[in-house]
């Protein structure tokens, strides 16, 4: 067990395999070695840490990039599909590809909490929480990306493109539409 201390001075006894989802904490533990000393997390509040350290039910077969896995595996012969990469393009930026139920729970949190989780995920270096699912359409079976209109609506983003920029975007889209 690892003892974590949050910004509001709450202490959390957490299982090592859970906290090691955080690259930051994992590195700290490796540096410090076995120790009873608490690990301070001055940038993470207790409410956020509770969310971030909820026990995982274990990785599922569902993959955040499942859409690609499934389409690629069935259309590898398709001329419009790229070959499957043997390995990540850049090992230094290798990302976790599994999404567990643990991660999926965060799709439904309110925007303030989402914001806090994103900041905490960035601080704790939990790449799986910075994942594409924020932009994914949960209502779609294939977990495709949300269209720009939906992303704007979800995050209260105003479409501030000028008519000229809109026209340019539309032109670029024509290529995809024409395929």
């Amino acid at each position: 067990m690892v003892l974590l201390v949050t910004s509001d001075n709450e202490q959390f006894q957490t299982e090592k395999d859970i906290v090691e989802r955080s690259v930051l904490i994992k590195n700290m533990l490796e540096d410090v070695g076995e120790s009873d000393q608490p690990i301070p997390l001055p940038n993470v509040s207790s409410s956020v840490l509770k969310k971030v350290t909820q026990p995982s039910t274990g990785p599922t077969e569902i993959d955040v990039r499942g859409r690609y896995l499934s389409t690629a595996s069935t259309t590898v012969e398709s001329p419009s599909r790229p070959p499957i990469l043997e390995q990540s393009q850049d090992e230094t930026r290798k990302r976790t590809t599994d999404i567990s139920e643990w991660d999926q729970k965060f799709i439904t949190v309110d925007q303030e909490m989402l914001f806090e989780i994103i900041l905490a995920a960035n601080y704790l270096d939990i790449k799986s929480l910075l994942c594409r699912r924020w932009l994914q359409d949960g209502s779609q079976h294939d977990q495709g990306a949300r269209p720009p209109e939906e992303i704007r609506k979800l995050f209260n983003i105003v479409n501030d493109f000028t008519p000229e920029e809109e026209a340019q975007i539309k032109k670029e889209n024509e290529w995809a539409e024409d395929r």
Binding site: Y68, P82, R95, L114, F115, P148, N156, E165, E174, D178
Partner: protein, 222 residues
């Protein structure tokens, strides 16, 4: 007189035909309740008018409140570097990025100007690309030119990043062409190629395949 004690209760919901005196009696019976009904209708109308006015007031108050709340939207406060991390996490990990406006990275440039600026100024987002085989015989030339422009812009946005490209063209889409029309667009970027996957007719990609090691200093995988 209340209709609860009406002498016609037993006749209600039947096909009974009242006599002339009974008709007079029924009319007299309805006089007071009908006045009451009209009074209630007037009250309802008044309340509905008041409700409509309140709803209008509410809407005119809510509009600016909502507009101001939008300013507080958490996504606006996400630091640039974190937004970049999220954008990078949106890229496919199992294959090169697709030239598809419904997928990252192109999608990210279509939400708002800020996201567009962030996306277009993050070379790492554009370091991989899969070039699909358009039908060069059947696709209108202006659309093909657009694809070429997209490819060119994409590669420009990748800055100085090492590139991972895949290009698929079995040749049957372009059998009357001497070489792949997009190959010439890729040549100026050869020095940044780290991974290159080519599927198709060798002759079709000859200009790319003829490059020497001095032109491909970063190439690790081919």
């Amino acid at each position: 007189m209340s209709l609860d004690n009406s002498p016609f209760v037993d006749r209600l919901n039947t096909n009974y035909v009242p006599s002339d005196p009974e008709v007079l009696e029924i009319r007299a019976l309805l006089a007071e309740p009908e006045i009451q009904l009209a009074r209630i209708d007037a009250q309802i109308e008044k309340m509905e008018t008041a409700l409509a006015q309140l709803k209008e007031q509410r809407a005119s108050l809510k509009r600016p409140i909502d507009a101001h709340k939008v300013l507080l939207s958490p996504i606006r406060r996400i630091p640039h570097d974190v937004l970049v991390e999220i954008f990078l996490a949106c890229l496919p990990s199992k294959h090169h990025a697709l030239i598809d406006p419904t997928q990252a990275p192109m999608l990210l440039g279509r939400v708002c100007r800020h996201w567009s600026r962030v996306a277009y100024s993050t070379p790492m987002l554009w370091r991989s690309m899969h070039i699909p085989p358009p039908s060069y015989l059947h696709t209108p030339p202006n659309i093909l030119l657009r694809l070429e422009k997209i490819v060119e812009d994409w590669l420009e946005r990748s800055g100085t990043c090492a590139l991972a490209l895949s290009i698929f063209d079995p040749g049957n889409f372009s059998h009357n062409l001497e070489r792949h029309p997009l190959v010439s667009r890729l040549l100026p970027f050869s020095r940044r190629l780290r991974h290159l996957a080519i599927t198709g007719d060798v002759a079709f990609f000859r200009p790319l395949l003829c490059l020497g090691s001095e032109d491909l200093p970063l190439l690790k995988e081919y």
